[in-house]
Symmetry: C2
């Protein structure tokens, strides 16, 4: 073990450099402590220090400001600091600070976040600092906490720092004075003093991960390794992607079988792609009936399938969340988000002094401001679509009248205008959604995230599907719908793969990589700096919405195009790999809060699964073959509609029963949960136990 | 204070008689301890003993058996007894045993049941025996626990007794040998040794309660007193009845206003009652439109009203359940139901040795046996109805052909046959429902009750509404529906009031009361005996189903007959009083388990509120005026149906949003709940805290 780190400001030149090239930081904690600030608690001063997070400061910052920040990071939490270890980098006057965390800070934060860890009996139990010695591996934080948990805790502690009294930051103008209870980090980032903050990559681990993840022909994904390295949000995305992809097998097989057995469907599909009107082969009644019942089977199957998949995923999710210790997250009991505001007061639950904001006021803001605004934008999408159709019709008439070069060029105008309009609307909406969610003033980071994602997702989804719904419900043109769906399925997936992976890959290779010429013997610090050249990770929104849109194609319109599931299955098998490659190579490593699932996406998928019943029943009703059959047997349109409505209600009822009957957690998890509840009920009674027992004979 | 009670078997002649007539047992605890068995713990031997529950034994039971039972009741729980106090009554050889409970047993059971009581800071907190001295009034069980809680605990302890080893009950045949872990009480009741067991009335309290409840013109009900005396199930029923009756005001006022403003509706209603076909007053278009929009307003209002009422009731329920300390009932952690069976094993949650039965097996039994059986019976109801209509048609033709006295007598045959059939079916179903629920093998008493009630309720409801649904959906005859509804509303309510109150009252006065000639100076024991002559309380099923059927009339078909709410409001105002009278005077006092709400009835009301949307939209579509309006404006039947379906979906969506947006618990309760969760989270950590702390410098 090396000696205790010297105080900040003591010029830590040698720190990260003193290592010999063979000694890699990735072998676990760096063994060099010099240059690091001293941890505030005696049990953490000795021992190795591991670089976790890199802060990039504004270049040209005064030395005293940097020193002040380093001192602040190392100060105990009670004195308004973060109780972390900081290192000024190779040059004391440089623009980076490397941050690590001593054991005690990590363990205390683990309790505060409500993470569960393996107890000595093997059960996942909410970690308690007092009881730390009964937890497995609690003396070795490198094993006890995952990399991404350690890095998130650093971020959590930094962002939680609040000024204990009014003070001026040395070297910064008077305007940036801190008031008591001000969030220091928010102020520093707002003033541009801290330019960015990102978790450092761990080369060896990353290499091992990518090897297990996407290099070979793995059929399963190394979910635990992903969770260990990238954290909960990413791990849950890949778990869902994996689960969902495999659950595409049954509908894919059914689709193939139906297509093979009923040549009609096949021909129809081919016809629709080749844009010729579907030639109804009258007289071939057997084939007819086969096709129609194929339609029916496909539709009913896909409706029930979606519920079963989502319920089974919930069970899987609960299992994973138990394994990863995120079943009892205590976010609502910890510090509120930095930008949460309200009248200062005592939190009635935790007894802490913090901003308070009444729940009803938030609900009122959501109901009276957010909902109408979102509605307005959805209306604008519809308006744009109607405008586009109107414009199309106009230029068509113009073109048939004039038939000139100009008019044929004009034919493109509506499309171009619509694309421009949609993009502008999307950009504007993103800003509005951000502002609205901020205005709703959520206390917890996860609630904020869910509401923001929810808003954008509704809009994006609507944008994707407005045209399809228009064709299905208003134009009632099944062949056109089939054509659109097939082209969307094939083209969108291709475009997505290209924009998501190929372009970033090329950009990385052609422009970024040459600047990042890395050598084994480079000093650690340069490697850290290099990571800051990678682009920021854009978040999982695009990945999730892609899955949601897929799921939408499949469940909403599946009876129209039976091969949907096959195409999606093929797409997803490559998608898993390309997403994994992207995560590992093309972006900065993201911070990842501990989460217990997919958040609002879960709801989105479930809602979609119920909406699919309505859409499928409607499409069956529209199905030209079925209509013809009805006419032959003398069923009127009204009666057919009645049957469809009845079917819809029965299916929804059945889906609800399924959702209720399939338990959301496996039995063994339920037992563990109830054990916990029972224990905590007993513990509460015993802890309150007064000193009065001696008055009673037990 | 009197001396410590002597041992059982010591001939307690003087016990209940030693009191002077002026000293009433109802002044709280009886001050006479002699004759009572000695409590097993030293802190409970002195002090007053209060008679709580009366056991009636088989007459002619051997003295040694009675003595054995008394000793058993007084034995400590660990030795397989109930740790209660028993008194053999005036004559040691008589057929009654009076049971009371010492303080320690009551307090321990309070913890076991998970009841919340007022902590020293005023918050309702789950009671803990260890911590008892920090609870308000814990030293005075008469104030600490309500009468009904004390009586329920006696029942709970008696029914929980299990043989600790194989033994023969003295004075009973070999066949009644107890095996280890056998439930003793079940065996005794099964063998007819214990004929019945009921809680004793408390004259003074009962008088005070009836005075505050139904003697005057009270607008509110003394809910806390009801809870204190009759316990949770009864108190929740009356709370709901009260809440629901007041919430009928808005639809009643709307109904009156609509009836006044649109003469058409009024006339229509009158017409329908007088059985003349509705004469459509063509040419009076203003009136037309008014009537139609009146229909619409009424329908939409009643659909949204039902959701708002149920959501507001949930809030009220949570408040009451907090006030009555039943928010954290621990039924799933306590002993299973006596008749629960399965392989013996260690309960993984509580660690107790008890029968185990896998949850999936119960679900399987429910899905594969119970659901099909219930479906079969519902099918038989429909079959009966169809048979009735078929029979009606047959005898009608017969009558027109023959036109004799015989054939006109035959006209009644289908009705009579249908009534006989329905009654036989109902009786058979009740037996089947009992057997099915027993077969499902529920672990908790409340789950058993809910599943049994649920089964009977579905059947009864179906029985009530099958005819109305048949008229509305199959015959599509709105005038007939209106007529039926009006007559049902008026006649059923009248019949109910008569059968529920007047008949029991008369029976009581004419037959039972003379036998019960009670005098002030009668010994206590005779008063106790007299109570056993009252009929058993039949439970709240009939009351609840009456409310549910009312709610069904109102929400399912309200747009047909706008004055429904007015009639129901009037009916309920008398219903409250007659139900209260019935509870207090006409029946034995029932045992009442602590409950947190109405159980399965809550679900029934909520489901009905959603089904009402479907039915109302359908009725609007059928409305003759609306159809005519549609025809005038050239709207086809299919399009009208489409609009109705769209409206239905939108309304259901809106109702779901309402249900989500209105929080189920008031804010202050949420804070209390979260405080509790926070405390128990912290407690769990601190309780686990090992002895290792000394190794660490804090």
């Amino acid at each position: 073990m090396s000696s205790v780190g010297s105080d900040a400001g003591d010029g830590g030149h040698a720190v990260l450099r003193t290592k010999t090239p063979g000694e890699k930081a990735s072998d676990g904690p760096s063994e060099v402590g010099s240059g690091w600030t001293r941890a505030s608690c005696p049990c953490c001063v000795s021992g190795p220090v591991e670089p976790l997070v890199l802060l990039q400061l504004r270049s040209g910052l005064q030395q005293q400001t940097k020193d002040w920040i380093i001192t602040l990071i190392a100060t105990a939490v009670k004195q308004g600091g973060a109780a972390l270890s900081a290192h000024p980098g190779e040059e004391p006057s440089g623009d980076i600070i490397v941050v690590s965390a001593p054991r005690c800070t990590l363990l205390r934060a683990t309790e505060e976040l409500g993470l569960c860890k393996a107890y000595h009996n093997g059960d996942m139990t909410a970690f308690s600092y007092h009881d730390r010695n009964n937890f497995q591996n609690a003396d070795n934080v490198q094993v006890f906490l995952t990399v991404s948990e350690r890095q998130y805790i650093v971020k959590y502690e930094l962002e939680g720092m609040r000024a204990q009294r009014d003070l001026k930051i040395p070297g910064l103008p008077e305007g940036l004075r801190l008031q008591r209870r001000d969030n220091i980090w928010q102020k520093l980032q707002g003033a541009g003093v801290v330019r960015c903050m990102f978790p450092l990559n761990h080369e060896e681990k990353l290499k091992a991960l990518s090897k297990a993840w996407y290099s070979g022909n793995q059929l399963t994904q190394p979910l635990d390794m992903i969770h260990e390295y990238f954290g909960g949000t990413v791990a849950f995305y890949f778990s869902f992607l994996d689960f969902y992809t495999w659950s595409l097998l049954p509908p894919a097989i059914l689709g193939l079988v139906l297509t093979m057995f009923s040549g009609g469907v096949n021909k129809e599909a081919l016809d629709s792609i080749s844009d010729s009107k579907v030639a109804i082969s009258s007289g071939d009644d057997d084939d007819e009936a086969l096709t129609v019942s194929g339609h029916m089977i496909q539709a009913v199957f896909s409706m029930l399938w979606s519920t079963v998949v989502m319920e089974m995923w919930k069970r899987r999710k609960t299992t994973l969340s138990y394994r990863w210790g995120t079943m009892q997250l205590a976010e609502r009991f910890s510090e509120p988000r930095p930008s949460y505001h309200g009248d200062m007061g005592v939190n009635p639950v935790t007894g802490r002094w913090e901003p308070l904001f009444p729940v009803w006021q938030r609900k009122l803001r959501m109901a009276l401001v957010s909902v109408p605004m979102v509605g307005l934008f959805l209306g604008l999408v519809v308006l744009g679509m109607l405008g586009f159709y109107w414009g199309e019709a106009q230029v068509q008439t113009l073109h048939t009248e004039w038939d000139s070069l100009l008019s044929s060029a004009l034919l493109y105008l509506p499309s171009v205008a619509h694309i421009v309009y949609t993009n502008a609307l999307g950009t504007a909406y993103r800003q509005v959604a951000l502002a609205l969610t901020e205005f709703e003033n959520h206390r917890e980071e996860s609630a904020y995230g869910d509401h923001l994602t929810g808003k954008i997702l509704v809009f994006t989804f609507f944008n994707y599907f407005a045209v399809l719904f228009h064709i299905a419900f208003y134009k009632q043109d099944v062949p056109l719908l089939r054509k659109r769906l097939a082209s969307l399925l094939i083209i969108t997936q291709l475009v997505n793969q290209v924009t998501e992976v190929v372009i970033p890959f090329l950009v990385d290779r052609l422009f970024s990589a040459p600047k990042r010429s890395e050598k084994e013997e480079d000093p650690e610090e340069d490697k850290f700096r290099n990571q800051s050249n990678l682009p920021d990770f854009p978040g999982l929104f695009a990945e999730y919405i892609e899955l949601l849109v897929q799921f939408g194609y499949l469940s909403l319109f599946s009876c129209v195009y039976p091969l949907t599931a096959v195409l999606l299955l093929l797409n997803n098998l490559t998608e898993i790999r390309s997403d994994a490659y992207k995560m590992c190579k093309l972006f900065k490593k993201p911070f990842s809060a501990p989460v217990a699932g997919m958040g609002v996406w879960q709801t989105a998928f479930e809602v979609l699964s119920f909406v699919s019943v309505i859409s499928n029943c409607w499409l069956l009703l529209l199905s030209p073959r079925l209509q013809e059959l009805g006419q032959e047997n003398g069923i009127t349109g009204t009666n057919a509609l009645l049957v469809a409505v009845l079917l819809e209600h029965l299916l929804i009822l059945f889906k609800m029963l399924l959702a209720i009957l399939i338990p959301d957690e496996p039995d063994w998890i339920r037992v563990k949960r109830e054990q916990n509840e029972f224990k905590s009920m007993q513990a509460l009674g015993q802890q309150r136990q007064g000193a009065m027992d001696r008055y009673f004979i037990e």
